[in-house]
């Protein structure tokens, strides 16, 4: 494996370790004489402005967010296709250049269709 990736992997572990250390220090301080832990049912109930929370919390939300997610997936996959192209395009010939342009045109047509159909409206 590339040593640079090993560095990244090791520093991930180290970073998580440092944070866990911080968290445990905070726990220790919170339970010591400096801090204080006095849980009661009002304090540990979920937040609501001025009244007891009612109803289901995890209610269905607007379908728009899902649509944004789907659009994101299409364009993010496009971006991940373009990344390798963008570093090797100086070694490619004109034909492959036009192939990528065709791909971009097709995607833009998709975006235009979505736009005309009102998929990008938010109301």
């Amino acid at each position: 494996m590339n040593p640079e990736f090993k560095t990244i992997f090791y520093s991930t572990l180290l970073g998580v370790g440092i944070i866990l250390l911080l968290v445990s220090i905070s726990f220790a301080l919170g339970n010591s004489r400096i801090g204080s832990t006095r849980p009661d049912s009002e304090k540990s109930s979920i937040y609501e402005c001025g009244f007891d929370p009612f109803g289901k919390i995890r209610t269905p939300f607007a379908i728009k967010f899902v649509l944004v997610g789907i659009l994101f997936m299409i364009f993010d996959i496009e971006v991940s296709f373009l990344f390798p192209w963008s570093i090797v395009f100086n070694q490619l010939n004109l034909f492959s250049f036009w192939v990528v342009y065709t791909f971009l045109v097709i995607l833009s047509l998709g975006l235009a269709y979505e736009w005309l159909k009102g998929g990008l409206e938010w109301d």
Binding site: I19, S26, G35, S86
Partner: protein, 343 residues
């Protein structure tokens, strides 16, 4: 890896980590000071001279606060979300090149790594919103996720037009290729779009709809207290500094000096040490600070925009524009025979 290289990496990580925490702490002070001065008041000025000890006092206060755990939360996800958030915020710093060779890990795919880490930070926010099992965090997390993933597309396309001009994903290569001209000059629209998109990506004002205290109280971190809140807070500010540094790297020539060595005051100071190669980390941090100031300034200047305006700005303006910019950049590079040499 040998034991020596483990020790080296540990020391390098601490050298990044400790100043990062300090700079995040003082960024919060700077934010309050700058906002205060822009509104014709003083900002924090009581704790220590000019309020300089304020961030340390805040940190100690946050650490010793009671950790309130909401009774209905999904405990494991609730605990793990801030840890993921802050870990990702630290890890992204592995590829930030502050000077020639001054970085944790000289990845050949540095830009992709940065992109991947910034995409992953959506999970921390979604997890926290879902695990809190409360109404405001849930709405805030959904909004934040939709906003962040949308603006990632624009950032990705802008980065691609940078890479087209550079021909490499390595951060040092990107900076070194700007020796003759900083990329902000040929790619000015992309630089502006990157600045605005990084505001939205870090969910800062005027795009701070995830926090929106008038409607969502504080967004995805309503149920968090004490250190678990501090971790989210640190991650947010560390991401601000990170985006400023990436802006500097992509468009403002990283550590390169804007002046020639004979004109460069920093070069005069560094000349006896012989640490001179047309730029230094001092320039890097100076340029980054300008963008950090931009983050604070835009918070003082602009009112929060509506969510539909946010989405319209991305999907109807930035996405077509940045797509067009990729096509245009590639076309100009091919047409005028300006492709970067094979790396």
């Amino acid at each position: 890896m040998t034991i020596n290289s483990y020790i080296t990496v540990t020391i390098k990580l601490l050298i990044i980590f400790v100043p990062l925490l300090l700079s995040v702490a003082y960024l919060t002070l700077a934010e309050r000071k700058v906002l205060g001065l822009m509104q014709n008041r003083k900002g924090p000025a009581i704790v220590g001279p000019w309020g300089l000890v304020q961030p340390i006092a805040d940190g100690v206060k946050l650490l010793t606060k009671e950790l309130i755990i909401p009774s209905q939360a999904n405990k494991f996800m609730y605990y793990i979300a801030p840890i993921i958030s802050f870990t990702l915020a630290i890890l992204a710093w592995a590829i930030v090149t502050m000077d020639q060779g001054v970085l944790l890990s000289d990845l050949d795919i540095g830009v992709l790594y940065f992109f991947a880490i910034s995409s992953l930070s959506v999970y921390a926010i979604l997890l926290s919103g879902w695990a809190s099992n409360s109404r405001y965090p849930f709405l805030g997390a959904i909004r934040c996720a939709a906003q962040m993933i949308s603006y990632e597309v624009a950032i990705g396309l802008i980065i691609i037009s940078v890479i087209l001009c550079v021909g490499s994903l390595n951060i040092s290569e990107i900076v070194l290729s700007q020796k003759s001209v900083w990329l902000i000059i040929p790619l000015f629209p992309a630089a502006i779009m990157f600045m605005v998109a990084s505001l939205a990506e870090t969910a800062r004002a005027p795009f701070d709809l995830t926090e929106g205290e008038s409607e969502l109280v504080s967004g995805f971190n309503v149920e968090y207290s004490s250190l678990s809140f501090a971790l989210f807070f640190l991650a947010e500010y560390s991401n601000i500094i990170l985006m400023s540094c990436m802006m500097t790297i992509f468009f403002l020539g990283g550590w390169l000096s804007p002046l020639g060595d004979p004109l460069d005051p920093i070069a005069w100071f560094l000349a006896p040490t012989g640490a001179l190669s047309g730029g230094s980390a001092v320039w890097f941090f100076t340029k980054s600070s300008i963008f950090i100031l931009f983050f604070l300034w835009s918070r003082a200047s602009f009112p929060r925009i509506r969510y539909d305006q946010l989405m319209k700005l991305l999907w109807k303006t930035y996405l077509p524009l940045s797509l067009g910019l990729v096509v245009l950049t590639a076309g100009i590079l091919i047409g005028f025979n300006g492709v970067p040499p094979p790396y």
